[in-house]
């Protein structure tokens, strides 16, 4: 006789713990590989040492855990982006953080994002500035949700290696250029 499993009546409730934020200043000279089967391949590099990692409230520790907050620069970063013909963007991001106290934290995350209806075509279309996506006054923001993971051997930040993190962010587009990528990073706790 089989026993019916009881129906689940509650969510797997998790709350988010804010860890840190980062702003990546994208190199304006993005590498347009071109039209490949299924979409357009674009490689973007971070401008070294101009990209900041910070606690948005400037706290010195993570609320609730007492772990030291992270502050530093993104020493290098690369984003290998596939702007697919169905207006979905996929990318594979790798970067290294150099903290102000000289620790190295290696980070990686995949990205899946919706570019909006006709977004792929609009992002790469030739034309005058008026035809392009985003202006200085009204930039176009592409929302992002990611699942970053971090690795470090620094004893100060080793707690970060143990976490599955979640990033909520955006890519800011001005005249079809990827200008700045901003993320708030949380852990699921």
């Amino acid at each position: 006789m089989t026993v019916a499993k009881p129906r689940r009546r509650s969510l797997l409730d998790k709350s988010l713990l804010y860890l840190f934020s980062f702003d990546v200043e994208a190199d304006a000279n993005r590498q347009n590989i071109g039209f490949v089967p299924g979409g357009v391949r674009v490689n973007i590099q971070a401008r070294p040492n101009l990209s900041r990692v910070y606690h948005v409230l400037r706290d010195r520790s993570i609320a609730g855990t007492g772990s030291p907050a992270i502050s530093g620069t993104i020493e290098w970063g690369g984003d290998w982006l596939d702007l697919r013909d169905d207006d979905i963007g996929f990318s594979d991001v790798k970067f290294a953080i150099r903290t102000d106290d000289d620790a190295v934290i290696y980070g990686t995350y995949p990205v899946t994002c919706y570019l909006g209806s006709g977004g792929q075509r609009r992002l790469i279309k030739a034309g005058s500035d008026r035809d392009k996506l985003g202006t200085e006054k009204e930039p176009f923001d592409i929302p992002l949700i990611t699942t970053p993971r971090f690795t470090t051997t620094s004893k100060v930040y080793s707690w970060l290696s143990e976490l599955q993190c979640m990033g909520v962010g955006r890519i800011r587009v001005v005249r079809n250029e990827f200008r700045r990528i901003t993320y708030d990073v949380y852990s699921l706790s």
């Binding site: 590989i33 391949r41 190295v104 030739a126």
Partner: protein, 212 residues
Amino acid sequence: MNVSSKYLFTLQLDLSPTLVGVFPDGRRIDVRYTGSVITDATQYAADWRDSYTALNVGDEGDGSTDDLEWSGLTGKVISGADSVLIRSDSVAAFAGRLTIRANDQFLLNTQLTGAVDLLVQPKLKDFKGGVVKDPPVTPPAGTVDTVLGISFEGATSKQGWAEEDLTQEAFFRYQLLLRGTLVAIGQVKFDDRGLPQSAKLDVAVIRAVARS
């Protein structure tokens, strides 16, 4: 199986390594790549002159990559990154991504992947301080022979409505890189801290025919 190879070009890489740390699976090293690409005239002539002639003397071929021509590649590695893992079993695992800009401005998205067994290196006994430790997580200083897989992605079509620098197209010149099965064979040089410093790799297309 019959396997043969033909030389395409030489990849000369300068590596900027940063040691991330030693983890349970090994030693992880962040690497950034720059460098140059050039087709060596002597090797090119040795591997391609005969087949190129054959291709143009009435051999129409079967449409496979064997029929694709190759006229060499010269350019620069404009960016690249890797997270090299020197595993605790003395295997170096590479998973690099590079962008090559050819002299005609064509961009190639490049992936360099594979594993190098540091214990079976024939030159291991000649390395400075070459005693293998247990666990051997630090390769000895010197050069190690390397065979890696390499693949390329580049524009295969163009669209007139797109931005100007998206209107490049591979045509015949790069088809062999985009369609062929390729390997990178050469040496990686490690310094006495166990960090990779440079690599010289000859990229070749492989032709393999299964025995019937």
